[in-house]
Assembly symmetry: C2
Homo-oligomer: 431 residues x 2
């Protein structure tokens, strides 16, 4: 049974606070193991990759090659289901169109009243690594969501690493890499793949940033190489929060709660409503739909352990609760969906109206499905083009501008006890 809370009950504040602090992911302490793997890759390069890949994936990369060849990728593409491939192409085009709008002007410069030229230029990161999990969690849609924005940003070199347990690689994953314009694909995974991307080996040249989801080993490796290279956020289990009034369709809402719950037993699905009838109907619909769901075992565990239904007097009362939960995905199925959208501060993505199930955004809308989890939407954003670019600020003074601004810089340099700062200005003004 999912948790049921009523914001009118006397102990709600306490119960909501403890609900907020529930840890959904068992944190595995793999740091020591991962440190050893990274050190081995730094010191022995390809040889270490070969050993770890033989051990963990049971393949000999010295024999079949670390790099996945263009011929192999073409063959994989041919083996794909035609409908799925067409859907992937549609997704790719829409993701590209959406993300093109995020691209900043290459250079912005302005001249202020004193004649000082100020501004910034944006450049793409020169080389990016994309981690793709193997096995059942190898999602072609995630390849597109990570790779297309990097290419829209203009990254000249995009390198994908993906483990191939027992030599198996998902054809749609390789097809997605080709569609997205990935430049190099290597069959290596785990902490060893992250280490290779960060430090380089004989075969894999190092990159400047690593993105993409992975298991506890991959996450630990990303944390450890951070600083040497950039990393994206560390993704936690996925979440949806549905805000619905009495106009909500219980079957549709139940389907959306279960679409989240089927990801992972640690996933979380929450309904907040002002309608006790809807709450009851949704709960029944969930039970009923679970009976015919292929991944019912996963979804029912997630719904039982982390699901919740919260009753509020009016939906507007839910806004502060939503902001505290800061859900990765927020669906709003209510007559005043737009007004509620405008009031929300913290959410990774908002799906407005009953005809916008999250799954549309997961796959084909064009917006990114890599979104902040575990309440991190309070301070971070979903993956976007700027994650693959960086900003260099520009400043240009002539003698007059330096004369105008110099004395204030000298005063501050002296106030901070930094005499050489002051002198570097004074010496140009003959002061």
């Amino acid at each position: 049974m999912p948790l049921r809370l009523d914001s009118q009950s006397a102990d709600f504040a306490d119960r909501f606070r403890s609900f907020l602090s529930v840890k959904r992911e068992a944190s595995q302490d793999v740091e020591q193991t991962v440190r050893g793997i990274i050190e081995a890759v730094i010191s022995r390069g390809d040889e270490a990759l070969k050993e770890f890949t033989a051990k963990f994936d049971r393949i000999d990369v010295a024999k079949i090659g670390l790099r996945v060849s263009a011929a192999e990728i073409d063959a994989a593409e041919k083996a794909c289901d035609k409908d799925a491939l067409a859907a992937l192409k549609l997704a790719r085009d829409r993701i590209e169109a959406y993300h093109l709008r995020q691209k900043p002007k290459a250079e912005e410069r302005f001249t202020d009243a004193l004649g000082v030229e100020l501004g910034a230029k944006w450049t793409a990161i020169e080389a990016v690594g994309l981690y793709v999990p193997g096995g059942t969690a190898a999602y072609p849609s995630s390849v597109l969501m990570n790779a297309v924005p990097a290419k829209v940003a203009g990254c000249p070199r995009l390198v994908m690493v993906v483990p191939s347990p027992d030599g198996k690689l998902a054809p749609l994953v390789l097809a997605a890499a080709k569609l997205a314009g990935v430049d190099e694909v290597y069959r290596v995974g785990g902490a060893q793949a992250v280490a290779a991307l960060a430090y380089g080996t004989e075969t894999i040249a190092p990159v400047a940033k690593i993105v993409g989801p992975g298991n506890a080993y991959v996450a630990a490796a990303k944390r450890l190489v951070f600083g040497k290279v950039g990393i994206d956020m560390i993704a936690g289990p996925s979440e949806v929060l549905i805000l619905a009034d009495k106009t909500g369709n219980p079957d549709w809402i139940a389907a959306d709660l279960l679409a989240q719950a089927e990801h992972d037993t640690s996933a979380q699905s929450i309904l907040i409503t002002d309608s006790p009838e809807l709450a009851t109907d949704v709960e029944k619909a969930v039970e009923s739909q679970l009976k015919t769901l292929p991944r019912a075992d996963v979804a029912s565990a997630s719904w039982r352990d982390f699901g919740a239904i919260i009753l509020v007097p009016k939906l507007a009362d839910a806004v502060p609760l939503v902001d505290r939960l800061a859900p990765e995905h927020l669906e709003i199925a209510a007559v005043d969906a737009e007004a509620l959208t405008a009031k929300i501060r913290n959410a990774g993505a908002i799906f407005i109206g009953a005809h916008t199930p999250e799954a549309i955004g997961d796959y084909v809308a064009g917006s990114n499905h890599v979104l902040p989890t575990a309440r991190s939407a309070r301070f971070s954003s979903g993956l976007n083009v700027l994650d693959f670019m960086k900003r260099t600020s520009l400043l240009k003074c002539g003698p007059e501008q330096l004369r105008a601004l110099g004395p204030a810089a000298i005063a501050l340099g002296e106030a901070e006890g930094l005499g050489a700062h002051a002198r570097s200005v004074a010496i140009r003004l003959n002061l």
Copy 2:
């Protein structure tokens, strides 16, 4: 003696590679200590802050209060040197003007050919903590550089923490906080201050993101609370790279190299030039200026241990070296400064032309002086307004749009083995 390299010499590639990998900062392993401090603050709140502050700063916050009062801040402002205060106000106004241009539109939405509404809204982070070091490294300019962009972003609550060893607080630091619009100031520092910001205590409500520089304890604490809250980059020792041709003024260049070197014995100053005469003249000018520099001990150690002069045949040959070094600050004093600026991919900030010493940007130009160090300009940017905001993506379909996009979403859900994803779309289309 600084390192001298010539890009024409046979061993240059190797020597440049080892120069790139020089570690300038002794990494102190303080993680265990810091973990203990954080746990104490989580479990005992204000009481733990009182104990650590008595121990490290030798003051009793139970007596004088953890929060720095408005009266205390006003008194500090009155005690400031008038010229320094006026310079600080000029800096504040220019920083605000520059950063206002970085503010994105609150909402961007567009409707595509299918009628799907897509877009995003930007919101400010609800509460931000700003760490300010105490003692000699308490720079009022850094308070402005961190606080003003947060207020431009629209953060409603900006909390500053600053240690006051033996009860001392720099008046200009408090004045800068007031000028920048900081909402709350607490006299607490170290890992305990970071823990209080992340987890909250009876007196200090928690924030969603923590920014600002600090010592090894503060940096370790920021790494450990990352995830619970957002953090900015971990700042390393500061660097400047000066690119100059024979038109460069050796005295000015020497002054700028020393302005960097005086920060810290781990700071780094590099000159790359195509003029062997300039190289020699700059080296002499550095020696000469060191004789009268107040912080000569620090600057000479930095120049001796980490300084470098690199000769190239033409300045254009320096571009790939600059991109590999990815300096925090790049000054270009050369006739073709603009053409070189256009070619550089990796730098935190570029100071164009001989009349733009870095110190102008450090204090009063308006651009931000919090910039990526230790080669991280390869993948990250200087502090800016977007660091204090986050993006929520928006998606809105009606029945027709869902009918148009639904089948592709269903195909991908099924291809990925996520049946509930497919069903959440199909159920709305009666499929």
